[in-house]
Symmetry: C4
Subunit: 491 residues, 4 copies
């Protein structure tokens, strides 16, 4: 630990290959070469780790307990790594952080996004905010309210139960990856805020904090869900799921819309910024694959062969409710019902997977109609959730009116902790709570069971009239006609 | 009253709590601590009063007669308060006032809005102009005319009767709060102009002038309506309503879409401008509740338990026609009819309550259709009014063609007196009158009874094609994809 | 005529009232006081004449023959009027004129509009371009083509007959007022170009050139139509109509959508520009009525009592085909058919009358459907024309496919001669001819009878999806919500 | 060949008429006067050639083998032509080329367009990018996906056969003219890239490289299609088609939507840039026809009399599958089926022919519905292709889901080689391949036969809600209303 044992940062950087891979965790250097094959998320992501660390300027995105307790430690890195002087970007960042609007000035979830955009590194912002291809799938606002009047709304109650668990709001925290890109405490910000305000967090497979770290941070009996990317090696998955159940997780959300993670070009574009060597590969060197972005780099372990035939196997390894996350078509909704799972999440994966996918809200209308043909509705043993684009309690209430059981909020909370840590998440929950109170009163609903399809006008949903996606790249290249030009003259 | 009795402004400012509350009215200081509980609008608004005074730079927004005749006076405030030198903002304001376009250049109601925006303080503008949440409920312009030809339109008559009262135009002045934020004479500007031009003013519960002050300013037999926010203490409400009836008010418009006043973030945002101390509450001090805006501060007395069961009670305390203001759904329209009230106002409260509520115009089509199933139409004992977004006589005529009895105009007149006082309101009425004459002729209607649904094409209303709400905050945070970047080069 | 007889311009300007009215025509001063009551367009327009002259910098807008042969001449105005030095605006205008794009660079009718806008005085541009109120009625582009293939289109023929007169194109020149605001030769530019290219001009009642001047400029047997504003004094109208028939006019287009000319605020706004005295009327002097604009000033003679009962009278005074110009509703179309007139023009008066009127194209679909219920279609003795917003041959062909007999083009030619005189009109006709040839070939139509409703998709017309009117004044006053603000900081 | 034989460039330029026409090819001067009448594309295009050469700064756009082996050579042009110093524009171009983003930064086909726009001359860009008239026919993005889940998508296969030929992607390279405007190797870039990646190129009649040059560049057995503009002289066409068949071409795409090439004003406008002499033709010299643009100049040989009766003749001269390119209406689709051709291409010619034509995608829905009424579907002996606006694999998959056999991509590849030559095309194919892999997985399709109409929501297609064409010239000339103006003041 003395100065003699310091390893210069440049040396660490040289060990970034399959044959020799060192990483820096909590100011200590670990040799993880032998560990690469055992990594549940595949080896690629670890090889990318050093890069991620440097670009974030944060703690490692992977759970320290998992690494420090299992890995051969080399030594402390040299001072040049540990105490490297502040760069201009870091100085700017400090200044931006100090200039954040006071938390009390944050009035809505959009505000968090604006602050997060300013305080995040460009690469973290690109990863969080990117959607797929032309990013045509955006916020849906073509459902309109028909509020009711003259009902005593002195007390209104927007609490509910989600998969049998109490929730103070009809929302849950949806899984989003790599929380430490946004804040050193990563997903723990969510765990702690969820505990305090009685809502449920869905733990992501690709969390920056380890699963156990998150569960350890939770309060006793705090309900948690688990989002699962299914590994090509089913034993890894089985161990992961059964460990989760043993630790008390209350629902398993299997992601079914991501056999491969989407091309998110905003994220991919970031790989090239400030890359002086780029010119050299201009012609004929396309073997160099730097254009992948974070999303594709970390997802190679996901099993594209996952299919309906696997559902009974999942049923056999766990007693947790099983929810299929990422359903879009009415046929699949019915197949899910018949496969005996406990619910589905209608989602277009935050616009991050298949571009031009219809919003969960639009699919909800068709899917509820389809499910009604297969039995009583609402069905107490089959829940329909949606997520995507939620910024307001009103977005949630529209979905509930149209038949959803609850709504997942992902980026909203991600931006909240990126901007203000745990307090940001708490403030976001408080804002939504205020909005729920207000909206329930103005809708004339005393509790969520009074919401119904007669309180919304969803007739414009299918015409997409309220959803006019801007085709940004098309618009950026289209050159408008111009009129005949006058000759220049001076007065 | 001598110099010795002057109370420094700072001292007054210290008495702004529940335990000791002093205010400055007409350059005199009053101790209103004991009066707080008796205030018909609740005590909170009074505690906020001093703040409001300072921010408006105007007369107090509350009626001076009510206060000066009932309250213990302390003394005249010191010269520092009474004669404080002009600030830069006040100087700028004087300059702007002097630069207003001459009244004759005002061609339409939009012009008043533009002038009002320039002459109002930022906070007054924010209060007047704000709508709720994302402000998605905007002006409706998707109804189109099918005018008739070759009818003798030498004389056209757009006068009507509203709840049995004659009106020179098929509009009434809808209630808007806190008129003195806009002009020292507040609501009296409306009363006087209404008298001169034969239209009907609806007195707001939250007027800056006292009810009696307004009625006193009216001409003998000038018809007036009353807008009512129902107090949690029904005795206060009963006294208020019966006093109004005794003084000759001709109609009672009970607001039913505001059990709680909406979150108007433009208004709330204003609380933070130029607030140097903000930084201190950045993290963890969310106990400080400064983010309420004017609207929420003044509305705590409103009773959220108001319900259909209260209607017979209202019927029992007054013989005035009772109108429910703020109906949106066809079911509620039918319930109102069956409850025996004399009419309803279809309104989304100027976009200030539930965001994403359909416009009154769109609801009108469905509600008229529903009412037709319950009896003859038009129904002489049940009127349907609408308000919201009216800027043109054509907006009014579309509503009348679709079945409305008359249309309320709120902000249009509010901006008119904010910009030019009473003369502004008169000019606004004249402009509308000119537009009515023109439009009636061009529509081929000699009187309002000739208007009918065959003269409008409302088929686009439900697709919202003409109403493309800009989701401003979403657009402000969404970052478009960009194209591959060229390296920099110079010629 | 010597220097001694020169009358200073200022003296002429003083004689601009009902009691003494002098005007300058061809550098001569006339006293027209006694003539005021005999003017077919009412006296108001003459009182405005001097103003118009000065603002145009052109010849008088009224026919010199009518004046010089009938009026007492005072004298030549003084040199100060006749040879007043060039103002800065005039110099600028000369420069702009010299910089016009060469005529061969003009590729379409939009180009003419752009050039006209640059070379016209602000006031002339305002008069020509203005529409009514919020100018919501704009170009319609929501009809789509379904062209046919593999028809021999070596020769295509887009000629037609209009009310029995041959026309080389399926368009006619629609009436627009005050042509000398745009060019010294006014409407004669149209007459001469029409002769050269075999199309038909509709002479406007409010032409700057006299009716006879226009007819005299026409070739022998050149077909002309007449647009008629019906005078309150029917004898004036009768004389005018019968004179027209005697001089060979082939069709009478009675304007029925303008009992009063619309409020065109762009035009009205112009009255105030550079008006230093404006400030004086700011408060309380609204008696001064300067806010009328050109349109309203010249239209007071129009009879608002014109009605269906007058049609037989028109039939009795002329044998010309009678066309009702300005029909919008199916009921009126059927009434016109039953009244025995020879046709109708579906028009929203170029957006200049009732704002928010549906376009002629949209009304065409409904009206053709209605007429088909009353007899065989097409009906050889009843023509349906449309006008409004035509900039392309494709606009015309869409209308013909949907059932129109021909289409009127007004502003397109008005801008053409404002920009380049007669040659501009000829070029505009040539452009349209080229577009007709191209479009007929690409549509697979060898002649106009092959056009039919199966070649267009008009299903989007009623949803107005392609017609998204910008509500300019609303947008100019609406203040978007903004996000939480960072404190200022410097790097 | 010595210095003595050098011919000054100016002299060559003088020989540019019907009577004496010299051109410069590969630094040699040829007299092609006698050859003019034998040119398969008509003589006009050759007369325009020198102009085209100079404006492109490239090799001649016509195949050198055809010329050098058949023409009398004059001599080498003088040094002034051969070695003329670099102009400023050429220097700028070199700089821009050197600054292109490295090929690996290109993430999508939009990127190629942006680079092409920067590196092309203004005139080449105008020719490539222009569409007809108001350019209202733009990219269609109103079809939405309903992806399927839980299908094993480990291996997905997006290969197909097109007219019996294998293709590694469900696309083909559609014909676009004058490839050497974009890159010295012109269409050969496409031929070589197509060979390498197993896709099919359609050779354009108006290629810059000769037909044989292209076929010679192809690999043995590389499938090629031929696009045909039918010559007025059918013998020329017959020779061309039979030569193509002999050389192994596998499909004949007869263009049927271009009896005349469209007016592309962006292209036409370019003719006037930097043309100092323009002013001289301002008035009255409209005989000078410089306003044609490249498109119209080169298309005069196309036969507008082509008709259904010609189809049997084509059948008689070739055994290649015959495809009609440019079908829009369901009636014509059925006529094509009944005429015995092997397929149709639904196209609006890239928006370059009839403006306001519906997109191929929209027509596809109606045409597939019509074809289903005439027999089993899909029909193995009748293929339906579409082209136009393709920038993403998702655009292709939408079309296949709705019934298309394959999709043509034209400009996408044209821009790719304009920007980066053959490597650009290869990169474009790789990008599409990646997108196909991704989208197939995300759609849950293992091969193209699993795509079907239930996977897309095309209900918004007919309302054109997602297709809001900007009417650029209209918007550029429309002057918005403005509000009343304040007088100027200073603080």
């Amino acid at each position: 630990m003395g100065a003699a044992s310091l390893i210069p940062e440049q040396v660490v950087a040289q060990h970034a290959s399959r044959d020799s891979c060192w990483i820096i965790v909590h100011n200590k250097v670990y040799d993880i070469t032998d560990f690469l094959d055992e990594h549940p998320g595949g080896s690629k992501i670890i090889l990318l780790c050093p890069m991620l660390l440097y670009q974030c300027g944060y703690e490692p995105i992977h759970p320290p307990d998992m690494i420090s307790s299992n890995l051969p430690r080399r030594s402390k890195p040299s001072a040049s790594a540990a105490e490297k002087p502040e760069t201009d970007e870091q100085k700017k960042r400090q200044l931006v952080l100090a200039s954040r609007p006071p938390l009390d000035e944050i009035l809505n979830l959009h505000d968090f996004e604006a602050v997060a955009r300013a305080v995040l590194t460009d690469k973290a912002w690109a990863y969080y905010s990117s959607a797929s291809d032309d990013e045509l799938a955006i916020r849906e606002n073509s459902v309109w309210f028909l509020p009711r009047i003259l009902r005593d709304v002195t007390s209104v109650d927007w609490s509910t139960t989600i998969l049998g668990q109490k929730s103070s709001l009809p929302i849950y925290i949806s899984a989003t990856a790599l929380g430490k890109l946004g804040h050193p405490d990563g997903e723990l910000n969510l765990t702690r805020a969820a505990a305090k305000h009685g809502i449920i967090q869905m733990i992501p497979t690709l969390a920056s904090c380890s699963f156990d770290e998150i569960v350890d941070a939770a309060q006793p009996n705090q309900p948690l869900f688990l989002q699962l990317y299914v590994n090509r090696d089913r034993e890894v998955t089985k161990k992961y799921v059964q460990h989760a159940e043993k630790r008390g997780v209350k629902g398993l959300f299997i992601t079914v819309d991501a056999p491969q993670l989407g091309r998110r070009e905003k994220d991919m574009r970031m790989r090239f910024v400030d890359d002086g060597a780029g010119a050299k590969v201009q012609e004929g060197q396309s073997g160099v694959k730097k254009d992948q972005g974070i999303a594709r780099a970390i997802s190679s372990f996901i099993d594209p062969s996952l299919a309906w035939k696997d559902i009974p196997w999942f049923r056999s390894i766990t007693k947790m409710p099983i929810i299929l996350k990422g359903v879009a078509s009415p046929q699949d909704a019915i197949m899910a019902l018949e496969a005996g799972v406990q619910g589905i999440v209608l989602s277009n994966h935050g616009g991050r997977q298949l571009d031009n996918s219809r919003s969960g809200l639009e699919n909800l209308v068709d899917i509820v109609a389809a499910l009604k043909t297969r039995g009583p509705w609402p069905n107490p043993s089959f829940s329909v959730f949606i997520d995507g684009g939620v910024r307001r309690a009103s977005d949630v209430l529209k979905a509930l009116a149209l038949g959803a059981s609850a709504v997942g909020v992902g980026r909203g909370f991600l931006y909240a902790f990126s901007a203000y840590g745990q307090e940001g998440v708490e403030k976001a929950i408080e804002i939504l709570r205020d909005e729920f109170e207000m909206n329930m009163r103005l809708l004339g609903c005393r509790n969520l069971s009074e919401l119904g399809p007669d309180m919304v006008d969803a007739s414009a949903l299918h015409t997409h009239a309220g959803l006019a996606p801007q085709d940004n790249l098309y618009a950026a290249t289209y050159q408008p006609l111009r009129l005949a030009q006058f000759k220049e003259f001076k007065l």
